[in-house]
Homo-oligomer: 164 residues x 4
């Protein structure tokens, strides 16, 4: 089977990180699969389904192989979902994985990383492979069995694809 | 059985109302049972259990007989749970019953109505009878069957107890 | 308000009782509200919703005031849902309230008590008041809040209605 | 990494099949991963968790790659869980994957395939790889994400491991 050309995942444009002492980029996790959960703290589907699923991913898989990263992609109610509010939310919901605040857009309501990934809304789950390539992006809730399977397939790939 | 002396429910000290064009007080609902749900928008137990239960109360019982009222009793993370944030929350979670913002305390973090009722935290469910008397106050999640039963017992009481 | 004429609940025609050392009839519970749950052990809606709800009724309400009774109304798969199979089912599902086997019909698949009550299928919840009168009969799953409310209204009625 | 020596999955000793016109053996599914769910029709954990999960496996994965097979391993209440009762159960619960009746033991209550696999009880999930080897056997409920991941890892293996 030939090598399909998957594009590298766009960088994260983050103005502030929680649960991490330093700025993070997809490149920091090279060699690991990244499960990135894009959410808004006042989005019911994120609170009820997406974030609990992200926490289950973090509990099930060995962090040496799978990194869970949250991205707060505020595209509505900007005055309500400030970083101060997000900090309280993270505390109350006891989220422990790194969460970045997507940098507000320059000329519109959609923040920059959300634009770069072409996300349609929240929640969105993004899977990035060990080589930093964007492999899956799904808008809306997905069931746990599929997510577990999708991550396992990426983990089962050789860390480096055969060089030419 | 003699008449037990139940106290009148304390008035609500509310700085702002949502889903109501005018200020509300327990006296406005005399003749009806009031189910008052005290919550904080970033309290997981409120979002996952308490508020959905309040909505189920509003759907099950005839509004001519049972009034559901929310009270946003912010006693922590005050900067995060502002009225602006609450408005977005109400919109996103599609809450349609009247919700009042409990007036901040003068000398401490606990808002005034929460102090007046002696609430221990959120979520708290308060039941007020047709005569405006405080009949039940419970902190934490209660199952639906008990809540349905508690409300029905108040509805079954004669609207006016025998006068002296 | 005048006295509405509610009919007495038909007697139970039961060929065998479990969780009871003697035969039971509605009259045995006079003075109490009866929540009778009609089910079939291989009916998914009964196993998943109806029977757990019957157990919650038994836990919530004081048995001095509310009696929970099961009725195994087999109207299909008669060879599969025998009393021997029911006994194992009751053991495995840890049901502790009295359960009667509805007596098979003489000339058709519908058992006799099911016919007498005019039940449409399983699960069916029947509520009988303190005076032994049939007050509610609902086919299919009902939510807990409504059931709790319905039982409470019957409990709130005077034990004996005004005599003529 | 050297080839770990996984044993072939023991054959199924089945007295009767449902949802299959002919007898099945693990060898019939060579090249596919098999998810075998061992259950008893009156085991609450099987009805509430195990069988719904087996149905989700059957829905999620392509049947050309993953076969779901049920095994009715009756080790208690034998008179209640007869093939006649199982047939009604399969009909009522709308199970569509092949289900075999584990052949009763000769000298004890444990049926033969259950003995051959050394199962501790029900529900038990068994995963067999594309080469027919027993790769996982777990007693009790497992969460969907782990099961999805476990199956995907087996699917990701080369169909034939390197020959010696």
């Amino acid at each position: 089977m030939g090598q399909t050309a998957f594009a590298l995942a766009p960088p994260w444009q983050v103005s502030q990180w929680f649960n991490s002492e330093r700025a993070l980029s997809p490149a920091d996790f090279r060699g690991r699969v990244i499960a990135m959960h894009a959410f808004q703290m006042l989005c019911p589907g994120c609170v009820q389904l997406g974030l609990p699923q992200a926490s289950r991913i973090a509990r099930l898989f060995d962090p040496a192989h799978v990194a869970v990263v949250g991205l707060h992609t505020v595209f509505e109610h900007h005055q309500a979902m400030t970083p101060v509010a997000l900090e309280a939310f993270i505390h109350e919901y006891q989220l422990t994985f790194p969460i970045g605040v997507d940098t507000p857009g320059e000329s519109g309501p959609i923040p920059r990383t959300m634009v770069a990934y072409g996300m349609q809304g929240t929640p969105t789950l993004v899977l990035i492979d060990r080589q930093g390539r964007l492999r899956k992006q799904s808008f809306g809730a997905e069931d746990d069995m599929r997510v577990g399977s999708d991550i396992a397939f990426l983990l089962a790939e050789p860390e480096r694809s055969a060089a030419p």
